[in-house]
């Protein structure tokens, strides 16, 4: 039963994608129906599974769908691992995807590549589900690569735009760098445990902890090395410093894609993988500290960059990176389930933010610069309220979803005494508040600079507004609704290995969702939030010019931030430039001269000569043929006389 259910959840989007691929008629309607129904089926089944798991999170099902490949001693199987973690992930992925798909019907309506778009997005969802339910590293790797591929296709969806092509190339290449890490990690696991199963790895952890791996005479402990390599893969997918810089550029794709990448599918893969491998990471020692530092610095530094951006989508993109930093920080502190919880709430409000941004962009005729917008509150009331909800959830105003998940992560560090990290994350809250309100005030208040007419009809079609409303509800309430049942009801006990510390945390500090909320009003983060709101009100609404007050002092910082700590130059200019130089040398010196002329063409010419000669043997005379046979026979007989 379960077996069947999961198979449908995974393969329904793939099937949809395949049907669309071979679909003959050009009608948008059938494309929309097929594309949405295939995801819808997965979504409904995932929801059903999640509800049943909320009642009883214990069942862990691990089955093999089929044997994929057997080679000598090793067999590679395609398997499914269903537990509370994969169920909640599949719920996030399919639920958010489904509403983004509906939204896309309206958003992509006039686009020529309507069908292509749904092929890609369905495939994207399928690839992500493949990762979510995999029970071995090979399948994980396949899904991982497919996610990379589909993101490449989608970011460059408008392939006639040069910037889109550059952006998808960048995303792909950066992800490849991470993939090398992942692949090396997987290979190391295979070499040292002779298996690619998660379970096998977890069982052989104690044996593995005594193992050392020697590379060029340097000896490394096996577990931290594997964990580090896998984290490189995860940090590329989940956009952590220093492999984050592809994510802002990925905004070149259509806005629903940004929502899909940022909320449901791609960037969550890295976080998910580390949570899935939590037993490994628990043993990995210094790697956890590294993850913690990277996560915190990403959360803080990338939030700062968001402040100086003016493109609405780029701001939200940096906010995603920053929020992913929070999750990574939670991972670094071994509170895996908290990271997943933040991932859950973040998926909803971030998807909503992007959909709002899309709706704004659509209304403003593809203008994305927020300094040029204004006064849309009256014109777009639905988008305004949706943005308001998503925004306060992102800031972490008590009672919203984002508050529960984010404050939990911050409280981890308050309670384990790591005050350095704690203050950084608190500062992150302040920054978050600033950039969220910046969009809010600049877009919805002030003068209507773009002179957009206020029509009496609805601001957009139903298919665009419906997902906004549908996502606004979980953005507001899901944090509170699932707080008790998911975090402290031993929901993750069977799937992540942080059960001890989280239950301890809960019993000692929180007691219940309500008390946690009330307590929050007295906490530091709440005050920072309030200060943030007031500050941004002053800066962005009253438009007090900061530069006058801090003349000269901030300009340097602003420059650094605008250059994104030099990553823009590094990734757009320096690295490509020097790569090109080296590649040119290799191309002319070795490829053209040696490989092409000497080896490839040289051998090919020789073979062609031989070929024309051998062809002459085929004379067409039957006695030649018979003669050849007899000669052949003689030769074979002679061979044995030599023995």
């Amino acid at each position: 039963m379960m077996y069947f259910l999961i198979t449908i959840i995974i393969f329904s989007p793939l099937l949809g994608s395949l049907i669309l691929l071979f679909k003959n008629d050009k009608s948008n309607l059938s494309t929309a129906i097929i594309g949405n129904i295939s995801i819808g089926i997965s979504m409904i089944l995932s929801l059903f599974l999640l509800i049943s798991y909320l009642f009883d999170p214990t069942p862990i099902e691990n089955f093999t769908l089929f044997k994929w490949f057997s080679s000598n001693k090793f067999t590679f199987e395609f398997g499914l691992l269903v537990d509370s973690l994969s169920v909640v992930m599949s719920f996030i992925v399919t639920f958010v995807s489904f509403f983004i798909h509906i939204y896309s019907i309206g958003y992509m309506e006039k686009d020529l590549g309507f069908n292509r778009f749904f092929i890609y997005t369905n495939f994207f969802t399928f690839s992500m589900l493949l990762i979510v339910f995999s029970n071995n590293f090979l399948q994980l790797f396949v899904g991982w690569e497919l996610v990379g591929l589909s993101s490449y296709l989608l970011i460059g969806f408008w392939h006639e735009k040069i910037s889109a092509v550059n952006a998808n190339l960048k995303a792909f290449i950066v992800n490849r760098i991470g993939d090398i890490g992942l692949l090396l990690g997987v290979i190391l696991i295979f070499v040292s445990t002779k298996s690619l199963d998660y379970n096998n790895l977890f069982l052989s952890l104690s044996a593995l902890s005594e193992k050392n791996i020697t590379i060029l005479n340097y000896s490394f402990e096996a577990i931290p090395l594997i964990a580090l390599l896998l984290f490189i893969g995860a940090s590329a997918k989940s956009a952590q410093i220093p492999l984050h810089f592809w994510l802002p550029d990925s905004m070149e794709g259509p806005t629903p894609i940004s929502a899909l990448i940022h909320a449901a599918t791609m960037v969550t893969a890295g976080i998910f993988m580390i949570v899935r491998l939590s037993p490994l990471y628990n043993e990995s020692g210094y790697v956890l500290d590294l993850i913690l530092i990277i996560g915190t610095s990403t959360a803080f530094l990338m939030g700062l960059v968001a402040l100086v951006q003016n493109d609405i989508k780029r701001i939200i993109a940096y906010s995603t990176i920053s929020q992913l930093g929070y999750m990574t920080a939670a991972l670094g502190a071994s509170y895996y389930s908290f990271a997943i919880y933040h991932l859950l709430t973040h998926a909803f409000f971030k998807a909503l933010l992007f959909l709002c941004a899309g709706s704004i962009i659509l209304k403003c005729h593809h203008e994305q610069d927020i300094t040029k917008m204004g006064g849309l509150r009256k014109i777009m009331p639905y988008t305004f309220f949706a943005y308001l909800i998503a925004g306060i959830s992102l800031m972490g105003v008590p009672f919203t979803s984002g508050f529960y998940s984010k404050d939990l992560i911050i409280d981890i560090f308050k309670n384990n005494g790591n005050s350095f990290i704690y203050y950084f994350l608190i500062a992150g809250v302040f920054i978050t508040t600033l950039y969220t309100s910046k969009i809010f005030f600049k877009v919805f208040f002030g003068d209507n600079k773009l002179k957009i007419e206020d029509s009496t009809e609805l601001e957009h079609k139903d298919v665009i507004l419906m997902p906004l409303i549908a996502l606004a509800i979980p953005s507001m309430f899901i944090g509170l609704a699932l707080f008790d049942s998911m975090l402290f009801n031993n929901y993750f006990a069977g799937s992540t290995s942080d059960f001890n510390i989280t239950s301890n945390f809960y019993n000692n500090y929180i007691i219940s969702a309500f008390s946690f909320t009330v307590h929050a009003f007295t906490s530091l983060s709440f005050f920072v939030l309030v200060i943030g709101v007031i500050t941004s009100y002053l800066i962005y609404y009253k438009e007090i010019d900061l530069s006058k007050i801090f003349e000269g002092k901030l300009s340097l910082i602003k420059k650094i931030l605008e250059s994104e700590y030099g990553f823009i130059n590094l990734s757009n200019n320096y690295i490509p430039l020097y790569f090109k130089k080296i590649a040119n040398i290799l191309w002319i010196k070795s490829d053209v001269n040696i490989i092409d002329n000497l080896i490839v063409n040289g051998i090919a010419n020789q073979i062609k000569k031989i070929s024309t000669r051998i062809r002459l043997i085929q004379t067409g005379y039957i006695y030649h043929y018979a003669f050849t046979m007899i000669i052949g026979l003689m030769l074979f007989l002679l061979v044995f006389f030599n023995f």
Binding site: T612, I622, A626, M629, F636, V639
Partner: protein, 479 residues
């Protein structure tokens, strides 16, 4: 008491054949196609009973005729492949107004011949099967008797085939003279009692080695391995494209089984001798096949040389003498046959003006007119090259793996290099289809959903190669 249950498939074919032959001669010209449907029906009935027969196998190898899992799997495979080939043949002959019911009957005779070959445990019975198959093929080749090429091809094949049969009979008679039996088991027992390790061979041993050489060489002729390949290009070129399709697929399976069976059940003790023969045969075949195919312009001749090259790969797998090698060779044979049927079945559905496809350039610009067909054909060509995740990749991989496992490292490097050379002529077809200007005379007889379905299944098989791998392994271990 003789149990006829084992040979129900053969009986069915024979009965339907006798029935249809009589019936067909009473049909009017317009009703003759009913015979074709009878033939197809008999094939499906036959395959049903083969599957049914898995329950009662006769593994007693002292019988003339046995039905092991191995032979049953192959019979099933041969029968189903033949059904598919005849489907294409029927459509092709109908379109070009060359339909004769005899074609299909002769094909059934060939099928019986192959079934006898696969199941025989006795050298004379084997010879009977081979001759039945060969005679049927001679007449199929000359089927298009208006064409001078067709008659020439048939005569060539007939004469050379007679020489090869002579070799085979000579080898068999040598064996009979030396061991006094024609049963595989008894010959094998006799041979295992001999000592071949001493440097001084007895007359006996030399005689056996001679017999082995003669038998293997005549089988190599039937298989089409260099230097006994000379008939292949001319014969393939001369016959109709669907006959070429038939010639290059099912008989190869049958001969493959015979080779495996003979070296495994008769000459297993003479490994060092037959390994040398197979080694030379395979190296020569791969070189001749791949290198000569490059300069061919006729697509049937190209297929002929690619067949030779592929046979070289199959022989490489057998050459290792290990279970892995046999398994790989079997996997390769099945893959090769499946994909050849698809590729040339698809070609038989195209036409150039009012004549069948002959030259590679006839295909130019296929993509512009029939993008789906071009895509399918590209997939098939890529599989021949050995591009993952298609089945051809796994086939080559297993062969090379078995070579490495038996520590023939240089041979595996050789195989890979030759694959690279071989990829040229397959890729050229893709280039012609996709990048050349459209040949306006190119059109399609009928788009067949069977082809689509079939290719789809092949792609699926490629994604899950273990299905075929398990079948190969299972049947080889139940030899």
């Amino acid at each position: 008491m003789i149990n006829f249950l084992y040979i129900i498939p053969e009986i069915i074919i024979m009965t339907v054949l006798s029935f249809v032959i009589v019936l067909d001669s009473f049909f009017s010209k317009n009703n003759k196609k009913i015979s074709y449907y009878f033939v197809q029906l008999s094939l499906f009935l036959c395959s049903y009973y083969i599957i049914d027969n898995f329950n009662f196998l006769n593994k007693n190898t002292s019988n003339l005729y046995n039905t092991s899992i191995f032979s049953n799997i192959f019979k099933l495979f041969i029968t189903l492949s033949l059904a598919l080939i005849l489907h294409y043949t029927y459509k092709f002959l109908q379109y070009f107004k060359k339909y004769e019911s005899e074609y299909f009957m002769i094909a059934l005779f060939a099928l019986i011949g192959m079934m006898i070959m696969v199941s025989s445990e006795h050298l004379l019975l084997l010879y009977l099967g081979i001759e039945l198959l060969s005679l049927s093929l001679y007449s199929l080749i000359s089927f298009n008797r208006d064409s001078i090429f067709s008659s020439e091809a048939a005569i060539k094949y007939y004469i050379l085939g007679a020489i090869a049969s002579g070799f085979l009979l000579f080898g068999i008679s040598l064996i009979y003279g030396l061991t006094g039996s024609l049963y595989y088991v008894e010959i094998s027992n006799q041979i295992s009692s001999l000592n071949f390790s001493s440097s001084e061979y007895t007359l006996h041993a030399v005689g056996l080695i001679f017999a082995l050489t003669f038998i293997l060489i005549s089988l190599a002729f039937k298989f089409g391995a260099a230097p006994f390949h000379m008939w292949i290009p001319d014969v393939y070129h001369g016959s109709l494209i669907t006959t070429t399709l038939l010639l290059s697929t099912v008989p190869k399976i049958a001969v493959f089984i015979i080779i495996i069976k003979i070296i495994n059940s008769i000459f297993s003790n003479l490994y060092i001798f037959w390994a040398d023969i197979l080694f030379i045969l395979s190296i020569l075949s791969i070189i001749v096949g791949n290198v000569t195919a490059i300069v061919q312009t006729n697509i049937k001749r190209m297929l002929a040389y690619s067949t030779i090259a592929n046979i070289g790969f199959i022989l490489l797998g057998i050459f290792t003498g290990s279970i892995e090698g046999y398994k790989a060779a079997m996997f390769y044979t099945i893959t090769y046959v499946l994909f050849t049927i698809a590729a040339f079945g698809l070609l038989s559905e195209l036409k150039n003006g009012e004549s069948p496809i002959e030259e590679i350039t006839n295909l130019s610009g296929l993509n512009k007119q029939y993008p789906i067909l071009a895509f399918i054909f590209m997939l098939l060509m890529l599989s021949f090259i050995g591009i993952p995740p298609l089945l051809g990749f796994h086939a080559k991989l297993f062969i090379i793996q078995s070579l490495i496992l038996t520590s023939n490292i240089f041979l595996s490097i050789f195989a890979v290099l030759m694959t690279v050379i071989g990829s040229y002529y397959y890729l050229r077809v893709i280039k012609v289809m996709y990048f050349d200007n459209l040949d306006n005379k190119l059109s399609c007889i009928s788009t067949s959903y069977i082809t689509y379905l079939y290719v789809f299944l092949l792609v699926l098989l490629g994604l899950f190669p273990d299905i075929l791998g398990q079948i190969s392994y299972y049947s080889i271990s139940n030899l």
